[in-house]
Symmetry: D2
Subunit: 223 residues, 4 copies
């Protein structure tokens, strides 16, 4: 397989990928014009999102007996629970959102929709199904961060969202995203068949659309 | 336990329950003013919905070793796959929707959201979690059918949706809904604790909200 | 793919397959010399086995969205719960084992071992993993029945186990076994890769060994 | 609840608990008379066992949304994969078993039986079912270690197995075992009902019996 699976998946739903990665929420982040309330709403739901994201990697760890894959999945859970969430909490505090507030937030429908779709893909199918469903988030955020960072329209000075952009454009997150792309290829080598590709493209597309809805939720303050 | 679990759950989210069972889509069904396109869109997605609903009962059959419960769950899968879907296909044909058209429909986000939420509740938790998540649909449709049927505002003559109303108001479906209520009580006797109630109320509320979104999807032709 | 997957799997663990299909329990069934107590013990555990077997097909129904595959899996659950178990109960009564006695039997370790291995394969992996783990039982019993029936050493007259042999050698069961072989090939077309074959061979071999242990449990009255 | 759930479970299957915790393998460990081959066979299978044990805690992490419980479960996976397995590998090297040898070992039936039983309990049921199935191992090893350590019959000098006994009798492992007992009580507070107790006792008893079989496998070099 010469083409990377992630590129094939992305190419199969160009318009949806564009609608997600260049969503109005993202544009307003870039220019710093996003209403503070929208960002706060997004951040609070992202906290709940991360809990289910950690569960997805725990599920991935359960679904393999390959020690290397298990260790990678558990490192992801650990990273989310013990590093990413702490950073998130810190970041939220600078936006006047305390951790207790967030834990008590009712889950917005858009948060439920994407997270449960991912988890259920992994339970009905195998690890490849699960990681494909996760990839629009993991890899997409890296692409969004990198795009914004190099886009001349992006404002980094006096933009309250500059640190968010820099986090996802930064080397550390870019390497997380690249690892996720490489892992899809490793799994594809093990388990991809031509017959599965169409199904995986549908999974990827729906996950991408549900991610776009997550931005939309932030923009419209949907619950 | 004297109060029925279903009644407790419903009482815990009155406004959401009202927003679902008295949704504008339902009102327009009752008066026959719902645009044909909305109903067709709803019907097509309901076909996809039923597939995942059948999967949820198959999951319930897996999750028990009690023969009586297994047989009931399998009878539900069988009823959905071999009776309800056939009726549905027949009904759709009268609305110019062929089965092949429906199987090829892309799944709307609202369809994904509710179905995967239900399935994942069942996988993360136990049978009680699963059946609570299913109940706003199974029991709710019965309540909606019965409400519409006795409501003087409902038009049954020359209403293209009269047969839909009559199906859910009919004895057969009412008995399905009552069985579902009774089964919740049986499971509650086995597995309900005061500590779980709050969590089950959250599940029930979110499922109810996702059901309301399913109507909304029909109304707005959302994909 | 010209070779049938089932044949490949069987060829990969010839000795274990032989140890299972030509187990001493099977030889004594054929000659009618198996102690009555061993057969009764086997029958009682087989009743518990069937419950988990039905659960495995329910799980298979959950794990697909292909209507044809769902209907086939549900027909298997229904067949096990409503036909096979009834026949089993009837058969057991002729051996002085009532249904209530069987439902109260403690599960022998060999019963637990094979059934949970199969179910867990299906949860950790995908449908192909699940059906491969099921196949030594479904197809193996057909092979055992057919072998015994044509073996000149087999005694069918005045053999108390003749009806058991005839059931599995009969057209009805042979067609169940053939369907299972065909389904493995259908799934292989969708999901088999060279990289997965080794893993599936390990699954098949372990399932075969656990099936042999099930005979051994009957022979030694192990609990 | 005044009585600890673990004590109730243990009291419900006294003979099986005794047969497990005072198994001949354990007695021979205590006196240092266990054949080296038996211990090596046990160690190799225990390596495979730990992989599935780590998967069980990963599954537990998936099955909750409570951050404290998730962190505890993930710490267990991490502890098993990155500390316990490393110690195990080191220990095995002193017994001439290299890690590569162990990863290539075919899984013995007794290893499959206990591990898949535990995992499947967790998938069919909820976290309480899962942790109850895990407890004979986690807590049992602590009890065995402590018993041996205080038993005057135990030989600690010139016993090649002294370090094994000291590891499980040591403060670190004793505190792991006590945490597991406390966690059962926390889960029981959330999810235990009188109706579930009988079922949990059956789970506990079968898990205990399968653990005894694991010792037996070591003793008889069963594969």
């Amino acid at each position: 397989m010469t083409a990377r699976l992630f590129d094939q998946l992305k190419a199969s739903c160009k318009d949806d990928w564009e609608a997600y990665t260049k969503h109005e929420f993202v544009r307003q982040l870039a220019t710093g014009t996003l209403p503070k309330k929208s960002f706060q709403h997004y951040l609070g739901q992202d906290y709940l999102f991360l809990i289910h994201f950690a569960r997805a990697y725990a599920l991935a760890a359960y679904k393999t007996t390959d020690l290397k894959e298990m260790r990678a999945a558990v490192a992801s859970v650990d990273g989310i629970l013990n590093t990413e969430m702490a950073l998130h909490v810190e970041f939220c505090q600078s936006w006047n959102l305390g951790e207790a507030d967030m834990a008590d937030l009712p889950e917005a429908k858009a948060t439920t929709a994407y997270t449960r779709f991912v988890l259920e893909c992994g339970l009905a199918g195998d690890s490849l199904d699960l990681y494909v469903a996760l990839s629009p988030c993991v890899v997409g955020y890296g692409e969004i961060g990198a795009n914004l960072h190099k886009d001349p329209m992006t404002v980094l000075q006096s933009n309250p969202y500059a640190s968010w952009i820099e986090m996802y454009a930064g080397d550390e997150y870019q390497s997380v995203a690249n690892d996720a792309i490489a892992q899809l290829d490793r799994l594809a080598e093990q388990r991809l068949t031509p017959a599965r590709l169409t199904f995986l493209e549908q999974t990827f597309r729906q996950a991408t659309r549900l991610e776009a809805d997550f931005w939309q939720m932030g923009l419209t303050l949907a619950t």
